[in-house]
C-alpha cells in the first residue's frame, strides 16, 4: 500500500467516526487469556481484548490466524465442533459465557451472527426473518408482520422485497441474501451482532450497501466484524484488532492509530502488505 493510499484511508476514518468516537466506552465483551484448541492444535493463544458497546470492532489478520475461531468463541458456536476446547475467560457484561450455568442457546439470543456465506433457510423471505421470533417464542408479544417489516427495513432490503415476501429466500441475489441474513439476525433484537467476512462473497456494490448498513446498525447494536479487506476495516470500524499467525492478538487500538501508526512492526508490515 502506498503512503498516499494510507493517508486517504486515515482521513476517511476520521471523518466517518467523529460522532461515534465521542461516546464513552462501555465494555460489553471481554476476553481474558483466552486459549482455543482444535484437538492438539492451538488456534488462539492468550487473547485478551475489551470490545466496546455500540461501536464497530474489526478483526483483521492473515488467513488461519483464528479470527473466525474468536468470533465463534463469543457466541459459543464452537460448541458445535467436537474437537474444539476453550480455556480462559470470555465475559459478556461481566459474566463468563463458559460458566456452567450459561445456556448457549440463551447466549445466542443476545448475540446474533451473520456468516461469510449467505445462509438463508429454504423458506420464504417472510419466514426467514420471522424465524428467530418464532423459535424464541416471542411471536405472541409482537406484531409479526410489523417486526418482519422493521427488520427488513433495518437491513435495507424492504424496498426490494416488499411485494414478494412469500417467495423463497433462496431466489434472492447473493447480496440480497446476505442482507436477508442480517434482517434475520436483527429481527430478534440482539445486543451484539457478529459478522464473519459478511461481504467477501459479494460484489463491490452489494458490499458497500452492507457497509452503509453496518454504519447504521451500530447506533443500536454492537458490531464485531471479521474482514480481509483492510480498506473496509478502515472505513467502517472504530476499533481494530490485528491477529497474526499463531492465533495471537498482536495489537488492538483505535482504527485510526492502527492504520496510521501501528505500535508493532509486524502489524505495520501486515497492513502495508509486506506479509500475510
Amino acid at each position: 500500500m502506498s503512503t498516499e493510499e494510507q493517508s486517504l484511508i486515515t482521513t476517511e476514518v476520521q471523518t466517518e467516526n467523529t460522532t461515534r468516537a465521542d461516546r464513552p466506552d462501555e465494555t460489553v465483551l471481554e476476553a481474558r487469556s483466552l486459549d482455543v484448541y482444535y484437538g492438539q492444535d492451538q488456534a488462539l493463544t492468550d487473547v485478551s481484548i475489551e470490545i466496546p458497546e455500540h461501536k464497530v470492532t474489526a478483526m483483521i489478520g492473515p488467513s488461519g490466524c483464528g479470527k473466525s475461531t474468536f468470533l465463534r468463541s463469543i457466541n459459543r458456536m464452537n460448541d458445535q465442533i467436537d474437537a474444539c476446547r476453550v480455556d480462559g475467560e470470555l465475559s459478556f457484561h461481566g459474566k463468563n459465557v463458559y460458566d456452567e450455568d450459561v445456556d448457549p442457546v440463551a447466549l445466542r439470543r443476545k448475540i446474533g451472527q451473520v456468516f461469510q456465506k449467505p445462509n438463508p433457510f429454504p423458506k420464504s423471505i417472510y419466514e426467514n426473518v420471522a424465524y428467530g421470533l418464532r423459535v424464541q417464542g416471542t411471536v405472541d408479544d409482537v406484531d409479526l408482520d410489523d417486526a418482519v417489516e422493521q427488520a427488513l427495513r433495518g437491513a435495507a432490503l424492504w424496498d426490494e422485497v416488499e411485494g414478494k415476501l412469500d417467495s423463497s429466500g433462496l431466489d434472492l441475489s447473493g447480496g440480497q441474501q446476505q442482507r436477508l441474513c442480517i434482517a434475520r439476525a436483527i429481527a430478534t433484537d440482539p445486543e451484539v451482532i457478529l459478522m464473519d467476512e459478511p461481504t467477501s462473497a459479494l460484489d463491490p456494490v452489494a458490499a458497500s450497501k452492507i457497509e452503509d448498513l453496518i454504519d447504521e446498525l451500530v447506533e443500536e447494536y454492537t458490531v464485531v466484524i471479521v474482514t480481509h479487506n483492510m480498506q473496509q476495516a478502515a472505513r467502517i470500524s472504530d476499533r481494530t484488532a490485528v491477529f497474526l499467525t499463531g492465533g495471537e492478538l498482536v495489537e488492538f487500538d483505535d482504527t485510526a492509530s492502527i492504520f496510521e501508526d501501528p505500535a508493532d512492526d509486524r502489524v505495520e508490515d501486515y497492513i502495508t502488505g509486506k506479509f500475510g
Binding site: 458445535q80 445462509n119 429454504p122 423458506k123 428467530g132 423459535v135 424464541q136 441474513c181 439476525a185
Partner: protein, 299 residues
Amino acid sequence: MSSETDHDLFADVDLGWEHRKNRIFLGLIFAASMFGVLMLALLLFDVATDFYVGLTEYNINLVDFFTRDGSRREELSGFRGAIVASITLMVLVTFLAFFVGVGSAIYLEEYAPDNRITRLIEANLANLAGVPSIVYGLLGLAAFVNGIGMGPILLAGAIALGLLVMPIIIVSAQEALRAVPDGVRNGSLATGATQWQTIRNVVLPAAMPGIMTGTILALARAIGETAPLIMVGAIFINRMPRGPFDRFSAMPTQIYNWANEPSQHFIHLAATGIVVLLSFLFVMNLIAIYIRHRYETEI
C-alpha cells in the same frame, strides 16, 4: 487465421489412437448400460406375452381378477385378497419402520458424537442392509410367529418386512440429512434456536424429500419380497385378510403359489399378478422420482 496455418500448427500432435481408444471405451460402457435395459425389456416382454395369452386364451377377466380372492378353482381365482394384504402390509411397514428409521438417522447424524460406538452402530447398519431377506423371515418366524406365539398373521409379516427395510430407510435418511448444508444449521443455532428446533424447523423440512424418496424406494423393495413372507407362513391363504391379526397371502406369495400350480390357467393368473405387482412398483418409483425432481433445486 487460415485453415492451412491451423493445420500446420497442430501437425505434430497425433491424437488418432487416443481418440480411437476413447471411442472404444465409450462403446464398451454404452453396451454395458444397454445390457440392463435389454434384460429388463426381455423380462417385460415375457411377462406381457403371458399376460396377453392369459387374457385371450384363458379368458382371464380383469374385473373378476380385481374383485375376487384366490381360489382352488382356477376360473374363480382373483387377486383382491393379495392386493389388500400387500397394501395393509405396506401401511404397517411404514408405521413400524419409518419413525424408528428416521429417528435413528436423526440421532446418528445430528446428535451422536463421532466416536467408536457411533461408528460401530453405523457399520452394523450397513451390514444389516445387506443381510439376505430370508434371514429376516427366519427371525420373524422364530421370534414373532413362534416365539411370542403370534402365528402366521399379517402383523408378523409386517414386522419381518419392517426389519428388512429399516436399515435401508436409516441409511437413505442419513444421506438426506447429510445433504443439508451446515450453513443453515449454524444459521438456525446462531439465531437462538435449540438443536431440536433447528432439526424440526430447518433440517427435517430440507431433508424430507430425500427421506420420502428413500422410504418409498425401500417400500418398493418390501412389496416384492417373497422369501420372508413364505418363512412366516403367508402362503396358501386365499381369503382377504380381515385386519392385521388375520392370516394372509400377499401379492408375491400369491404369485409364487400360482406359479407352482400344474395348470396353465394358474400360470397365466401368476403372469397377470406379476403385471399388477410391477405396476405397483412402477408407480412407487415414479412417485419417488417425481419427489426427487420436484425438490432437487431447493437449497
